[in-house]
Amino acid sequence: MNEQAQQIIGYILKEVVRRPGVEIHEDTPLVSSGLIDSLELVNILVKLEDVTHMRIPAAKVQPKDMDTVNLMFATAQRLGRPRK
């Protein structure tokens, strides 16, 4: 697991899920499993921009594109533009 993925997983566990005993890896379904809701999805998207140093056009992002940590980074790579 790379450092960026670790940062996102750490953020999700600490700021979003906040429940002891929950484990998340790169392929854990987050949206489809109901682990994160719409507002948390938005917060993770913002965090993803900070971690990747990219600007990700939210209008192009679908919740299914953010379902797992791996999908989040694939989305960032596909849609993201370097921040000015």
């Binding site: 719409s38 507002l39 938005v42 939210a58 209008a59 992002v61 679908q62």
Partner: protein, 527 residues
């Protein structure tokens, strides 16, 4: 068409269903059955589209013209957008749909009562809203948004028209998405007994929810004692408990009505192997307002989440911005139903509930309250249930005055000494609500039990392992679960005749206000 909740008086019904309509409904089903026998994919799709147009034409050829025009327009806009998916092109596409929707849905109420003159031609007074326009316009919009997001969608014109007009969903949803429908349109599947079984069960469940449960709540146990009378016949004088029970009663009526309709639509499609989006998932079990909106009218709720809330909320980084977007998104949810002050207020109310829930969560994080988890869950459920139920007052009230009067009453302690409704109503609503929770628990228990012991039965059969001692409790459970599963998997054997009889009954009664059994029309067919 005036917009309001159908009361069973015939004022808001789209069209009286005639025997001719029944014949065409039969032809539609027949055409669908024929389509499934065709080996050519295009031939099948063409027959399905013809059946869908024939079905929709029952509500008016003019309506059908609008649907076809909207389908052609959105297909052309999709091609333009796919060539260059820019924000400008997307906004133009969205604007085209909003103009059409506003012209047919939002303009007529605005013009009501205005005299015809040179500035206001007479034809504007004769605009009638095509049934289901809000549903299929949102389907068209979701295609455009998906195309903008560069989803790999390449529908042919035939497939896209079928997606827009698909007859089970064309009147009142669920709001489908092309990525889910397109692969199914392209699959040459044959009739499947498992699908028929599930479809028949859901069809029957929907018919019972609509014709029995929603109807009892609407009409009451005696004439003039149901939810309809509580809202329509009284102008004032409600007590606090009356308002609460009317809110709860209408919430359940709407759930049985629209949830029943959704079961019927999903079941009808499933008979032919099509799996549609779900619309309800135990909404009254929601512990928070946020969870409620992932369980109530899910196809529209997720539409607004995916295409409005997420893009808009992520567009700014201010902490307060997502809260503003909650209110905006829920207001859109309300306006989608109708541009009436009551629906706008209903949307704003739910937006504020979502904001209050989030702020409450933030406060709780800073100052954790230590009480047993079950107490916390119970309090959370009870407050969600009460606030959501009170919200139905805005949804159902005739006007703002009635809504605000009723809402204020619910918060006046002295009003709880006043009782204005029929005695049976105070029994009916709690019995229906408690009955619903008991039945849901029994259903969950049966599903868990049959899955657990059914699996054990299959496992022992596959491996040739003898069952546990048949005299033991576990052995009895395994055999009982196997029998239960055998009959429930073949439910269509005994359900189909019932479904057929009830379907004919419901077809005759739903839109026929003058029938011997007055049945309230489906509430969501007016949106």
């Amino acid at each position: 068409m005036p917009v309001g909740i159908p009361t069973g008086t015939g004022k808001t019904e789209a069209k009286v269903m005639t025997s001719q309509s029944l014949i065409s409904l039969s032809v539609v089903v027949l055409l669908w059955a024929v389509a499934w026998q065709l080996r050519s994919l295009k031939g099948r799709q063409a027959v399905l589209l013809a059946a869908s147009y024939l079905f929709y034409a029952n509500w008016g050829i003019g309506f059908l013209s609008v649907l076809i025009a909207s389908s052609l327009m959105n297909y052309a806009l999709g091609i333009v957008l796919r060539r260059q998916p820019t924000a400008g092109r997307l906004w133009i596409s969205v604007a085209c749909n909003v103009v059409i929707l506003s012209f047919f849905k939002y303009l007529p109420p605005l013009l009501e009562g205005a005299p015809a003159n040179a500035l206001l031609p007479d034809f504007l007074h004769r605009i009638v809203m095509p049934v289901g326009i809000s549903f299929w316009t949102f389907q068209g919009l979701s295609y455009l948004f998906d195309t903008y997001r560069e989803e790999e969608l390449d529908p042919s014109l035939l497939e896209f028209c079928l997606y827009m007009a698909f007859w089970p969903t064309v009147l009142a949803g669920p709001v489908c998405r092309l990525p889910n429908m397109l692969p199914q349109f392209r699959r040459l599947s044959a009739f499947n007994l498992a699908d028929i079984s599930v479809g028949a069960r859901r069809l029957l469940q929907g018919v019972i929810m609509k014709t029995v449960l929603a109807q009892i709540l609407a009409s009451g146990l005696s004439p003039g004692s149901g939810v309809t009378a509580g809202f329509d016949q009284m102008k004032s004088g409600w007590g606090g408990l009356d308002v609460l029970l009317l809110g709860i009663g209408f919430g359940f009526q709407l759930f049985f009505d629209f949830g029943g309709y959704s079961h019927m639509v999903i079941g009808a499609a499933r008979l032919f192997g099509m799996q549609l989006e779900e619309n309800f998932h135990r909404p009254f079990y929601a512990l928070t307002p946020s969870v409620f909106w992932t369980r109530w009218h899910m196809s529209l709720s997720f539409w607004i989440r995916d295409y409005v809330f997420v893009p808009l909320a992520a567009s700014r980084r201010d902490v307060w911005w997502p809260y503003v977007v909650f209110v905006l998104a829920m207001t859109l949810f309300g306006v989608w139903h109708a541009a009436k002050a009551t629906f706008i207020l209903w949307g704003v109310y739910h937006g504020l509930l979502l904001v209050a829930h989030r702020l409450g969560q933030r406060i709780k994080r800073r100052q954790p309250i230590t009480w047993p988890a079950s107490v916390g869950a119970l309090l959370s459920w009870a407050s969600t249930f009460c606030f959501v139920s009170l919200g139905w007052i805005f949804f159902r009230a005739h006007d703002l005055d009635q809504a605000l009067t009723m809402f204020r009453t619910a918060f006046l302690p002295s009003s709880y000494r006043q009782f204005a409704l029929s005695t049976t109503f105070y029994i009916l609503v709690p019995v229906m609500a408690i009955g619903y929770f008991i039945c849901s628990h029994i259903e969950s228990f049966l599903l868990d039990w049959s899955a657990r012991y059914g699996e054990e039965f299959r496992h022992s059969g596959e491996l040739g392992i003898p069952l546990r001692s048949t005299g033991s409790l576990a052995g009895v459970n395994i055999i009982a679960a196997a029998l239960f599963n055998f009959f429930s998997e073949r439910m269509w054997w005994w359900l189909m005749p019932m479904v057929l009889v009830l379907s004919v009954f419901i077809s005759l009664a739903i839109f026929h206000q003058g029938s011997a059994i007055p049945v309230t029309p489906f509430i969501y067919t007016i949106f």
